[in-house]
């Protein structure tokens, strides 16, 4: 699928589009589209603008229009970076996400190759089982996992997260890579086999270089999913120094009944930036693989 997906998008989707008059087009296309965009993007705008407001502006809607910031300030960000453990949370999230992503990619490449190309006995059922594994939601696993994490002495360590995140990353990556491997012609592999290459050589020297786009999308997806993970990090981590960004912002930035909205918004903004930037670099991969993974 992956290799041939690009071509279809270039074609004109609606053959009769030119028959439409301009006023009709404004009403049926532009007005709803702009409304959608405003609604979908407003929370980000609101997040961004609140992060740069000073406290007197933040709570004073009579003298300042809430939709704009008159005197932008970096106080909130300063407070976040120097008076909370936020940098530590960023570092933790980065570490946990990177390690679990690479761990999952390794497992997923091997598994996808075995299922899709070695076609050992029962490979189809293993493939189905992997897909079903992806459908097992973390919200029914976190309690037994918590008791395991406790029993193995992993509670409140990054290992608890690094080892549990692959449970949802591996099935997803495997499923995605299976699709990619399927799109690579068998003939290449057969040629290599005839030339005397071993299975491992085929995988490393032929299949993987061709599957780089798939590896990149699987990697970005895995990274984003681990960055966004919440329930495991909330359950398995207790001390502030070990927390990840989403959990840290939610649990540590609210002191009693005092909500530091500016700092909260700054935390949400900074925590969203890494995935947003990563995403913007690889957006085409992302969209293609997201739709591809579902289409299989």
């Amino acid at each position: 699928m992956g290799l041939f997906r690009k071509g279809a998008e270039a074609e004109a989707p609606d053959g009769a589009d030119f028959l439409e008059s301009i006023p009709r087009r404004v009403v049926t296309l532009w007005i709803p589209l702009v409304l959608f965009l405003v609604v979908l993007l407003f929370p980000f705008y609101w997040m961004g603008i609140t992060a740069f407001k000073s406290n007197e502006e933040l709570y004073n809607y009579t003298d300042f229009s809430p939709f704009w910031v008159v005197h932008p300030t970096l106080d909130n960000i300063h407070r976040l970076l120097f008076r909370t453990s936020y940098p530590q949370w960023l570092l933790n999230t980065m570490l946990v996400s990177v390690v679990s992503t690479f761990l999952s990619l390794f497992c997923a490449v091997c598994a996808a190759y075995a299922i899709e190309r070695l076609r050992f006995k029962g490979a189809r059922y293993v493939g189905l089982a992997i897909f079903l594994a992806y459908l097992v939601p973390p919200s029914i696993l976190f309690i037994p996992l918590a008791s395991m994490v406790f029993a193995y002495g992993l509670f409140d360590t990054k290992w608890a997260l690094i080892l549990t995140y692959p449970t949802f990353l591996i099935p997803f990556c495997t499923w995605l890579l299976m699709g990619y491997f399927r799109s690579i012609p068998f003939e290449l592999e057969e040629c290599a086999l005839i030339d005397g290459a071993s299975r491992l050589q085929i995988l490393v020297k032929i299949l993987l270089p061709l599957a780089v786009p798939g590896l990149i999308s699987a990697g970005i997806f895995a990274f984003t999913l681990s960055w966004n993970e919440f329930i495991y990090a909330l359950t398995f981590i207790q001390s502030s120094e070990q927390k990840t960004v989403p959990v840290g912002v939610v649990t540590e930035l609210v002191e009693g009944d005092v909500y530091h909205w500016g700092a909260l918004m700054a935390g949400a903004l900074l925590g969203s930036l890494p995935v947003a930037i990563l995403y913007s670099f690889f957006v085409e991969h992302y969209v293609a693989s997201m739709t591809g993974a579902v289409k299989e």
């Binding site: 959608f36 070695l118 097992v136 086999l193 491992l200």
Partner: protein
Amino acid sequence: MGAFMFVDTKTQRRASARAAPGPRRFRLGESRGAMGLLFMLPAAAVLLLFLAYPLGLGVWLGMTDTRVGRAGQYIGIENYEMLWTDSVFWTSVFNTLLYTVVASIAKFALGLWLALLLNRHLPFKAFLRAIVLLPWIVPTALSAIAFWWIYDSQFSIISWSLTRLGLIEHNINFLGDPAWARASVIIANVWRGIPFVAITLLAGLQTIPPSLYEAATIDGATPWQRFRYVTFPMLTPIIAVVMTFSVLFTFTDFQLIYVLTRGGPLNATHLMATLSFQRAIPGGNLGEGAAIAVTMIPFLLSAILFSYFGLQRRRWQHGGND
């Protein structure tokens, strides 16, 4: 695919018969079963240990009175008997179903609409598609915080705008009033889910050949007829997949509720996932929490089976032949 498999098997057999034997450590390669096992090992180890085992352990914990830091004893179905008479549990079941049904329908309708809009001739198409996905990329816990501020009881921007427009006189207590709280969390969930549905359906729309629309237009089909008799039937398989995922993720949602309301006010927004967390972790009652989690499984299974059989019948639409 069957034909390919056949070719592969034959070629491989031939290859292993003729090719010079590789280095000793790859002898295994001659048996595909052993080879497959070896390659499956890392993934299987992680998934069996941290997914299959905890799944079984969860069912077991649901039949014990385990508490945090104390191993429990087998108590049979006592936890479930307790839940049966627990009105909070039934409220959470009702909430979860309401949340899932309303949010999924809204996500589907709005997502399909957005996909249809994005499928038309547009300038900056790639850019629009990219920014539409943003709500789905950003960590839910963090965007939920933005919604928390938008729904603030005193400084809500929605209340302020509506007051300025003269539509309301008092601030709406978005997260403090049960009915409003339900609506608010559903809206936040829909906001986050629309991009996923829209972009996936958009990909499905792009696989529909334009010639079908041209033919329908020449035959005098109205836009609605084109949608009803061309777009929709061609799109059903992908709709089934997307909606299964959407229903599954909505049903088991946790973070949005945890951040916005923690189940309040008066348990009006407690989902089964949040209730199970509350009983198990802060409440320390692991057994009871696990039992609540287990009660989610039948719902999930029926959702999966429903879409699986929905998919089976329609494979021809995707160009397949089985």
